[in-house]
Symmetry: C2
Subunit: 329 residues, 2 copies
Amino acid sequence: MTLQQLRYFVAIADSGLNITLAAERVHATQPGLSKQLKQLEDELGMLLFTRRGKSLESITDGGNQVLASARAMLAEAGNIRALAANLRQEAGGELRIATTHTQARFLLPSALAEVKRRYPDVVVRLTPAGDAEVLPLLVEGEADLAIVSTVGPPPSGGLAVPLYRWERVLIVPKGHALAASGQGPTLTQLAQHPLISYESSLRRGSSLRQVFMRAELEPRFALTARDADLITTYVRAGLGVGILAEMAFTAEDAQDLVALDIGTLLPSCTTWLVMARDRVQRDYALQLARALAPQLDVRDLRRALNGEPPERWPDPPHWRERAKASGPL
Amino acid sequence: MTLQQLRYFVAIADSGLNITLAAERVHATQPGLSKQLKQLEDELGMLLFTRRGKSLESITDGGNQVLASARAMLAEAGNIRALAANLRQEAGGELRIATTHTQARFLLPSALAEVKRRYPDVVVRLTPAGDAEVLPLLVEGEADLAIVSTVGPPPSGGLAVPLYRWERVLIVPKGHALAASGQGPTLTQLAQHPLISYESSLRRGSSLRQVFMRAELEPRFALTARDADLITTYVRAGLGVGILAEMAFTAEDAQDLVALDIGTLLPSCTTWLVMARDRVQRDYALQLARALAPQLDVRDLRRALNGEPPERWPDPPHWRERAKASGPL
DNA sequence: CGCGTTTACGTCGTTCGTAACGATA
DNA sequence: TATCGTTACGAACGACGTAAACGCG
């Protein structure tokens, strides 16, 4: 049993049992993986996959257990390498961030610029994903850090650091009926208009739906999208009124659109930086965390990166106050 | 980074930084380990040990962190192998049990005989150790199972299964003053005699000492030993009165010694089977657990072996009733 | 001078890539 | 026939053992 064999094994498992594809991903040849897989099975004296003819059909029960252990081992190997790279103060490296489009577009740019300034050789890989897909990416080891938003308690599945809170705003064209009063509408008024919002709003448990449900109203969604640009575009096109993260309403939007405060209608959101427990992070991950959460004590952050978060984090600042806040050095 | 390199590395760390000794333990040559160590350090770009001249002086800070990860990886590798061996129904294998002399002598024989009957090819390695050294052996991976006794709550450091409860008895020669009344003495009477008991009784936190301390009495220890044979021997020799686990008082002892019930004076003990969390056990470990705890449901035991113990274990039987009890198949 | 480590060197095993073959849909 | 896996073969590398040299107490 070698680490290489285990690496090939999980690559095959992660490639939908397609050895050829797995071989490409690990930068090796297909016969090489085939052979190593067979050797691993021989040594363990068990089949890791069931076969139909020559093709792999499914993972065996035992194979799944081995898979879990193999993943753990490879993760530890990664820890060792990250540890060494940190100690060696290696300039290069990769920083894989899984997050939603909104955070990638409005929160991350300045923070990533800061990281890039101190660590120019780091390759940042942004993986935009739907709200529900971000955390799995982290758990499966596809990403080093995840940035997600929740209404209420921190997300599970990792170690969460609160970054900031934010509200949703209602977007309407200038001169729209709802904008006439100058202040936000009631929920009942809102329910009479077709809505344009994020895809995740369609989910049964989404906070938007829940708010309507509690008021015994049924929201009508005209259109959902993943990013704010599309939402504002369709609001402009008159397809409906938009519900947007406040961060996503730009100065340009303000030329022909109006953002109405609906803070009382919808609960506020918290955005979290999430990392997998027991995974050693590179130094530039700390740098990113500092840039994202300047209100937090660096020592707390460093401890958190090492898997020992404080009992309670201080309440994160609101998006609007965020620029002003700055933690102790 | 190879598993082999990591194995060599921990072997060196576990051999007091003596490469030659480590080489013997892993059945390899010393230059081989030297070279692999160097290669590992080269690949990681860090020193794992500090050197004085050519000799290894100490582990570096980074080395210690790598060591922890390496141990975790090797443990997982062991898990995979154990899993495969179970699946393969492999007859052979090793069962390393760390325990005290008393349990090894009076509890284990019948249970081990049962295991050996079903798994004749298993090599059982009994590691007798002092009361305080048993659990560390388990945690360090030197043993698969540990059997320890506590007064009160289960031991930490692993997953504990309660086996049985037992009392300590007072051993005196026939005709001894304390035996005259036919029943046990008071604590004050006991304090007037030199005591002979287990080594662990000397420890500051031992339950024996605590009982005396609470009564503001100071016990005098004439002699301490690790095993019951020695204790009874010296009781016979008239060096003092013995305090012994009830299991250790044999029919032979009864010919010239008397065991007095002091159940009211000393709290009763519970003996636990402890295994490391997240470590896959071989099937014969389950067999041993069944033999040791016949009062428990096999399904609970199996789940416990897989790391999912029930919320609460039923109270274990007393040693005297233990032979009669038998759980559902 | 003994103990323990490193260096040097040769051999053997193993891994990996290329190429050809085979099976399956 | 295209796709995907296995087998065959050869080259290169790497691990390991033996033997000798080196440093240190």
